[in-house]
Symmetry: C2
Subunit: 203 residues, 2 copies
């Protein structure tokens, strides 16, 4: 419908998550009326980010350089590894400022239907770390979803096998599931309520 260069950019924006044609059009028309310097800065920020940011060779989190900020920080406790699905999960956990250990980013969750087999994730690299580093605890922080739970179960088995082979393996834990803080009981879904009950603690 539009001129070729406009259509091309609309196509590119449509590749972003949750962006349909209408939204992509709105974005492109804003850029059309924006200053040329602003659009150039945007495009260069994109190229610059892609050039500068890669993945941490140790934990697969996003990194500027060889190691990510967390792995490069000597203050962090290398004895505890928190396993998450994506770099965004690392950012969420870091925001709480409660966790002082290191991370391991899987790059997703196991999902046989979508062809996400263990080889597609950084599981071998996690097993290597548990084998070679001095790890006391592995916290499985994959999502509280069918895929996330299945991945946690799979990892628990794999890591237990590593422990048997060596001397004494790390403790394997799973992040707690339950009612969100500030939520009403009658708004909780059955699955959350069931898990929250099962995970009850003495006070």
């Amino acid at each position: 419908v539009h001129e070729r260069p406009v259509e091309d950019l609309i196509d590119e924006f449509q590749r972003l998550p949750g962006v349909g044609r209408k939204t992509a059009e709105r974005y492109v028309f804003l850029l059309l009326s924006a200053d040329e310097t602003d659009v150039r800065r945007f495009a260069e920020a994109m190229l610059h980010m892609k050039e500068r940011i890669g993945f941490c060779s140790r934990c697969h989190n996003i990194a500027e350089g060889e190691l990510c900020r967390v792995c490069a920080n000597p203050q962090r406790d290398a004895g505890v590894i928190c396993v998450v699905e994506t770099p965004r999960d690392v950012a969420s956990l870091e925001r709480t400022q409660q966790f002082r250990g290191l991370y391991h980013v899987l790059g997703g969750a196991l999902s046989p239907i979508d062809g996400i087999t263990p080889e597609r994730l950084t599981i071998a690299s996690l097993v290597d770390r548990v084998r070679s580093e001095d790890v006391r605890e592995v916290i499985l922080c994959t999502n509280q979803t069918v895929d996330g739970d299945a991945t946690a179960s799979y990892l628990a088995r794999e890591l237990a096998a590593v422990a048997e082979a060596g001397t004494d393996g790390p403790t394997i834990t799973r992040i707690a599931s339950g009612l969100p803080v500030g939520s009403d009981l009658d708004f909780a879904d059955d699955a959350t309520l069931t898990r929250a009950l099962a995970g009850r603690r003495s006070i």
Copy 2:
């Protein structure tokens, strides 16, 4: 929170309409895991569009070159000008394939509160066109909003003044307001119903 190049790109995405920090983060993390060639193509599409696309010297619609596609088409009826607020409105009207005249893109609607005075819009250029071109009809297609209506009223007065000064001026019309096709009466708001009633036609 993130590395500088990541934060910079999040900032850029947040300038897009309706994009908050969370959405911008999702976009950036998708690009982080995308192929470098894909990201490069995206950035280049942005630069390319900005280089190639400008505004039509006659109607201010987006244009690749001096004139937009509509103005450059000799088949179009130069005797009818449809006045719209934005180039997106041109695209919407073109999609109907019902209008065979030319357009005039104002670049917005009058809005004293936002500092959008007549000088900020392409009104002088519209008056010039009506004066110098052989225009039979001007259809005011600004939005059915307070600002769009005020702009239409303002233009109607301005163009009537042009007509008085010259010989015989063009007919000035306003696009119809009423109930959308396929809509239920009981879902229509009062303002729409009022206008739809006022604009009733004999059948």
